[in-house]
């Protein structure tokens, strides 16, 4: 679906990522993972993220993933739902490998 929009994270994703240490696309995050936001490759989303409290460099927890759908990120009491295509444009770094299984997994 929508293959023309997606930078196709499945193919572009470097090998290291699968081991869960270096920069990953947010769309690949798993519920329970602690993440640091590395970059948001969309101007408007970046501004909105600053308002919400998710500056580049901020830490957040991947709280929920709807399979093939949005990723829910939590930071303090904030909870943000991010559509899959936008999640593909956000690079994150996993800072813990805590994988409490909860709900859908990507």
């Amino acid at each position: 679906m929508n293959s023309k929009w997606r930078p196709s994270s499945e193919e572009a994703r470097p090998e290291t990522v699968k081991r869960g240490m270096a920069a990953v696309h947010l769309s690949d995050a798993r519920p329970g993972q602690r993440l640091r936001i590395k970059g948001i490759a969309d101007d408007r989303a970046r501004d909105q993220a600053l308002r919400f409290g998710l500056a580049e460099g901020a830490e957040a927890v991947c709280e929920w993933v709807i399979p093939g759908g949005p990723v829910v990120l939590g930071r303090d009491t904030l909870r943000l739902a991010i559509g899959r295509r936008l999640a593909d444009l956000i690079t994150v770094e996993a800072i813990s490998r805590d994988r409490r299984r909860r709900g859908g997994c990507s």
Partner: protein, 640 residues
């Protein structure tokens, strides 16, 4: 002229002793009164504060040129204005544009923040402080924060912001008197030095010769607010991200200094919250909620209440009474009688429809909607259905207008403005016009479907769903451009407050009837005109081949479709009145559901999407309804 310009001109007039001309701007207070503006993020309890301040006499009106509502009321001799919930002042969407206009005319701003989410809410607070307007900060819902294990150092927060900070629990009226008392002490807070320096150069950076004298406008110019840039004829400064980043850093510093967590928060709130996002359980929740809404709007309001108000109260008592009262003055069968008390008359059909049919439906509809809004469920639903809606070029947020469409397509078309791009608005409006039956229509269709069996029901649902998916997919492929992505805040789920629900429902109902009333009057005039000139019968005759030959419906069905052009439920009612076989009933249900939207909806589509799109949507509804109806007619004859 913007509200802001008008306000300034009026103030200048007061200063120079020449009162300005009255322009009928409802949102403007009397000369000399203080304008107290409530501003805050969504879900901070702003409206509760507003209601507590202003009491019963509240005026809700659409902000000129938008569908965003602004409430205004009185607090002593001052005027209090409520603004839509926003995360920052700019022009990201209609809500922000309206909030910006109202905030820029404020004498005092009461910034309501949610005690549990200072990290998010203080962004707006610091932006308001950078604007240099006198401010009072109400930290609301401190009880909820307490329960979540969050402790706030209010004195420290006051010192860091430089404005009065009052802890409140608005729902229990705690701290509200202190907020009112603090209004006198409202003052511009401690501005960020870096941003302040840039503000001095805002005009220069934007390439404007006569830069804004007002600090708030200068800040928005610096932050590349499109509207303010346009007003001053400036170029984007490219400073927004830098200013935002500075502000975010300051928010994080302030929050770190004043917020203490005595225990870690639960990672996903309560179990219910998780449940609503689960692919399986979440879908069950959706089904339950839709069922509840159907019971409220489709059964209780559309059948039971309307059955009494329209059929008994209006048709059996009111209409005969008004005809009797006016008969001495109107010659029987004359043109005047047709227009005033005829079958489609101004004082008969129009009044019956507005009072007997529309009023109960609209009340039920807004009540249901307010419950969904106030409970914080809608953003979760948007998240849950995002994946499916991205396949037809929408994102999860589009579920809100689509659901509203089941109440009233006209209202739903207006709310498509909350969608992120013109592309999405076109898709959503087309789907609404084509496939979504409104509550009045659902009531009639439900009556027809009764006793037809599940094959008929599945055929009906299947046909309409197929058109929905097909139309969405085709538009998604054909329309150029990109749709916007889902990026929303999920507020905690909570029980709505009854008094808030009732107040909201009432205010919106009054506003809707005020806007929709005139449309019914025009509709009634048009039909009476067609009838008097005999054109109604002519059109009916020319439609007969289609209805009889293709749809296999009786000849009289043509009349119902003519009525359906004015209002679809009207058409559905016409079809329901015919004696039809089971197969014919299914055909009729599908055809009238896909049929052209009512006149009111068409007018709104025309206004929102322009003449070209409106005509295309109207014509394609016509074609789709008859094409699919004919196919269903043949299928139904085999299956039923």
């Amino acid at each position: 002229m913007t509200l802001r310009r008008h306000h300034r001109r009026q103030q200048d007039a007061v200063k120079s002793g020449r009162p300005g001309r009255r322009t009928g701007y409802e949102l403007l207070p009397p000369l000399g009164a203080r304008r107290i503006v409530l501003a805050g993020n969504p879900n901070t309890g702003k409206s509760v504060l507003f209601n507590a301040f202003t009491g019963l006499y509240v005026d809700v009106s659409n902000f000129p040129g938008t569908t965003v509502e602004v409430s205004s009321g009185r607090l002593g001799s001052d005027v209090v204005l409520d603004t839509p919930g926003i995360y920052g002042v700019s022009s990201f969407n209609d809500e922000e544009r309206v909030a910006r206009e109202v905030i820029l005319t404020a004498d005092v701003i009461v910034n309501v923040v949610n005690a549990s989410s200072l990290e998010r809410d203080l962004f707006l607070t610091l932006q308001l402080i950078d604007m240099g307007r006198p401010l009072v900060v109400a930290v609301n819902m401190v009880d909820e924060a307490e329960r979540l294990g969050i402790r706030i150092d209010f004195d420290r927060l006051r010192d860091l912001l430089g404005v009065p900070v009052i802890p409140t629990v608005a729902t229990r009226r705690k701290g509200l008197d202190q907020v009112i008392g603090a209004l006198a002490a409202a003052r511009p807070g401690l501005r960020d030095q870096f941003t302040d320096d840039l503000i001095q150069q805002a005009g220069e950076l934007a390439g404007v010769r006569d830069g804004p004298v007002d600090r708030a406008e200068a800040l928005l110019l610096l932050e590349d607010d499109p509207q303010v840039l346009r007003e001053y004829g400036g170029q984007p400064t490219g400073k927004r991200e830098e200013v935002y980043r500075r502000r975010r850093e300051r928010v994080d510093r302030v929050a770190a200094a004043v917020v203490r967590r005595v225990r870690p928060r639960p990672s996903m709130g309560d179990a219910l919250s998780q449940l609503t996002l689960h692919p399986l359980w979440g879908s069950l929740v959706v089904v339950l909620i839709l069922f509840g809404l159907y019971e409220l709007i489709g059964v209780l309001a559309a059948q039971k209440v309307v059955g009494f108000t329209e059929q008994v109260l209006m048709r059996q008592h009111y209409e005969p009474w008004i005809r009797r009262m006016l008969s001495p003055y109107l010659s029987s069968g004359g043109v005047a009688e047709t227009f005033v008390t005829g079958e489609f008359g101004l004082l008969t059909m129009t009044v019956t429809y507005v009072v007997g049919l529309l009023f109960p439906l609209v009340v039920a509809f807004y009540l249901g909607l307010s419950i969904l809004e106030d409970s914080g469920y809608l953003p979760r639903l948007a998240t849950l259905v995002d994946r499916e809606l991205t396949r037809i070029g929408l994102n999860g947020r589009a579920i809100i207008p689509l659901i509203l469409g089941f109440g009233c397509v006209t209202m739903a078309v207006i709310t498509t403005r909350l969608l992120g791009s013109p592309r999405e608005r076109t898709i959503a409006v087309a789907l609404l016009a084509l496939t979504v039956p409104c509550s009045a229509q659902i009531g009639v269709i439900a009556g027809m479907a009764a006793g037809l069996g599940w094959i008929a029901f599945l055929l009906f649902i299947g046909a309409v769903t197929a058109v929905f998916v097909a139309a969405g997919t085709v538009l998604h492929r054909l329309l150029p451009g990109t749709s916007s992505d889902l990026f929303i805040d999920l507020p905690p789920l909570r029980f709505p407050r009854i008094d808030n629900l009732l107040q909201k429902t009432w205010a919106k109902t009054v506003m809707f009837l005020r806007d929709a009333g005139p449309l019914f009057i025009y509709g009634s005039l048009v039909i009476s005109f067609l009838r008097v000139t005999g054109w109604l019968e002519t059109i009916q005759g020319s439609l007969a081949p289609l209805t009889v030959g293709w749809l296999h419906l009786p000849r009289e069905a043509a009349t119902a479709f003519i009525m359906g052009i004015v209002r679809r439920d009207f058409g559905a009612a016409g079809l329901a009145a015919l004696s039809l076989t089971g197969a014919q009933k299914v055909t009729a249900m599908v055809t009238i559901t896909l049929f052209v939207p009512c006149v009111a909806a068409v007018m709104v589509i025309y206004k929102e999407r322009g003449p070209l799109q409106a005509s295309l949507i109207w014509l394609s509804s016509f074609v789709a309804a008859f094409a699919v109806g004919g196919v269903v007619a043949r299928l139904a004859e085999i299956l039923i």
